[in-house]
């Protein structure tokens, strides 16, 4: 079975074709402002490299956040239009869970994406990608309070983090996350939308009673 994997949420943009639990083709590039120019050609290229037609893909796995708002939207638009048009199964995955596929020594791993103003997008997983803390937008202080003292905890991040915990660079394992979700039923493509984990500033202001500044 051929699966297409798309990640545009993070420091790296990735498209990959996975066939029978093996990576058949992959393109991984540093992400940047040319994402909207590059992403579809990258998808086209990984299918070509795998010698497949768009119809040969059975399932699409797409990272739905958190991360760059615009970045997430580029990947999801491609994935949801693809899944809707060709009636393919689509499975949204978390960028934080993807980061947590990085091999590590210890009990728990904390994927961490800097969200500025002393906030982060973070979650906590164990070695088997079981969730210890759900992905969320959280202050650094609160995150540190959530970490269990009696377990060995490791952070994984592309960002430079100041912490007493060990921090490792991501070395993601796409096959691992796809295997973890192999039995997921997927979602209706219309409902495959970004998980920003954060409201827009305008919505936050409205919620806090600040209107039309």
């Amino acid at each position: 079975m051929n699966k297409l994997f798309i990640d545009t949420a993070s420091t790296k943009r990735i498209a990959s074709v996975i066939t029978d639990d093996k990576i058949k083709s992959i393109i991984e590039e540093e992400n940047g402002i040319d994402l909207s120019v590059r992403m579809l050609p990258i998808v086209e290229q990984v299918l070509k490299d795998a010698q497949l037609l768009p119809t040969d893909i059975a399932e699409i796995y797409v990272i739905d956040g958190p991360g760059s708002f615009t970045g997430i939207r580029v990947g999801i638009t491609i994935a949801k239009v693809y899944a809707w048009a060709l009636k393919k199964k689509i499975v949204p995955l978390s960028e934080l869970e993807l980061l947590a596929t990085t091999p590590f020594k210890g009990n728990l791993i904390v994927p961490y994406i800097d969200a500025r103003r002393d906030y982060a997008y973070a979650a906590i997983y164990d070695q088997d990608l079981n969730i210890y803390m759900e992905p969320c937008h959280i202050s650094r202080t609160k995150l540190l309070e959530k970490l269990p003292k009696d377990r060995e905890v490791v952070f994984v991040s592309y960002d430079h983090i100041q912490t007493d915990y060990p921090v490792i660079k991501p070395n993601i394992d796409i096959v691992k996350i796809l295997n973890k979700h192999r039995n997921d039923t997927g979602v209706n493509p219309h409902e495959c939308n970004p998980h920003y984990l954060k409201m827009t500033e305008a919505e936050e202001k409205m919620q806090n009673g600040v209107l039309h500044d």
């Binding site: 579809l40 086209e44 708002f69 615009t70 939207r73 580029v74 638009t77 809707w84 939308n193 970004p194």
Partner: protein, 334 residues
């Protein structure tokens, strides 16, 4: 000759729209999902909110349009998309969707400039006659364009600062009217009189416009009257503002028609729905024997039907984009 079906996508601001147009003039089906109610909560379009809503709606709007047309993607000859100008985050959703469809179905991808779309909205009413002058007036644009033939655009003038629709919305806000204020200012203007006698903005020999000055004049006037403890007559202020704006728009447009020796005028964009502007242009064009086309209300505001109409002519001219097409927040009409 074989019919040409264009599937068009428009997402440059706060409307997610998909349309299927046959031969550049027959509207087979159009779906427009407006976000106006959402943005009204914030007093204006919030770009990030707009982008979020576009991605949530894009496949639903595509599906509804194809269902409405009773067609499927294999019936489509080409995919046209607004690539700019507009809100970059909003444009990106339409552009990515269009590129993905073009790739999956191996269809030509036709990039369409948003203003070309507004102009060709008129082609859905009546085939365009050339040469013509197009007055494009909306919340994002104010342009005077000369067209010798299909898809040849020469911009002879335009706003140097705010778009006319933007000025309307700002004035509405200053006098306490709700969003979107343009249509309400127009309505109030008809209930009032030109008593405030605002200056004609950029009343010179160029074909350019400037609306930031008159907007500031209104803001200062309201502020000064409040300081003096005077009550503003909103209807009269709207009438005065509208008088100056319509006067300068029509004055320069009529001069362009005369100087270019053209007797076809088309009006396009959301402000083409403005009753004051329609009335004045209808009367002037009738006096001067000018053929005036103003699109129906549904084609004045942003919609994909107009992109499909323009897209057909771009397609016939061989204009194509590759899968590396990018959205552009600003781009000259060519």
């Amino acid at each position: 000759m074989k019919d040409v079906y264009i599937l068009a996508i428009e997402s440059s601001c706060d409307e997610t729209s998909v349309s299927i147009i046959r031969n550049g003039c027959d509207e087979i089906a159009t779906v427009v999902l407006s976000q106006m109610d959402m943005h009204a909560n914030f007093g204006g379009v919030v770009p990030e909110v707009a982008s979020r809503m576009h991605i949530e709606n894009i496949t639903m709007v595509l599906e509804e349009c194809l269902n409405k047309a009773d067609l499927d993607m294999t019936d489509i000859d080409a995919i046209a998309v607004t690539y700019g100008p507009g809100l970059i985050g909003s444009l990106l959703i339409g552009v990515q969707a269009a590129k993905t469809l073009a790739y999956l179905y191996n269809k030509p991808l036709v990039p369409v400039h948003h203003i070309a779309g507004h102009i060709y909205a008129n082609n859905l009413e009546k085939p365009l006659s050339f040469p013509l002058i197009a007055l494009v007036v909306s919340g994002g644009h104010t342009d005077l364009i000369y067209m010798e033939e299909d898809y040849s655009f020469k911009r002879i003038g335009g706003t140097l600062d705010d778009a006319v629709g933007e000025a309307y919305d700002k004035v509405a806000r200053v006098v306490g009217l709700s969003y979107p204020g343009g249509p309400i200012v127009d309505k109030k203007a008809h209930e009032g009189k030109n008593t405030y006698h605002l200056p004609l903005p950029l009343n010179d020999d160029s074909y350019d416009f400037s609306f930031s000055g008159i907007k500031s004049a209104v803001i200062n006037l309201v502020h000064n009257e409040k300081q003096r403890g005077n009550v503003i007559n909103v209807e009269n202020l709207c009438a005065s503002f509208q008088h100056s704006v319509v006067e300068i728009l029509t004055k320069k447009t009529m001069r362009a028609l005369k100087e270019f020796g053209v007797n076809n005028l088309i009006v396009a964009g959301g402000v083409a729905a403005n009753k004051g502007l329609r009335e004045k242009l209808t009367s002037l064009c009738s006096e001067e024997n000018i053929n005036l086309i103003i699109p129906s209300m549904k084609h004045c505001t942003d919609n994909a039907a107009m992109i499909g109409a323009a897209g057909y002519y771009a397609y016939k001219l061989g204009r194509r984009a590759n899968l590396d097409l990018n959205a552009k927040a600003n781009d000259a009409l060519q």
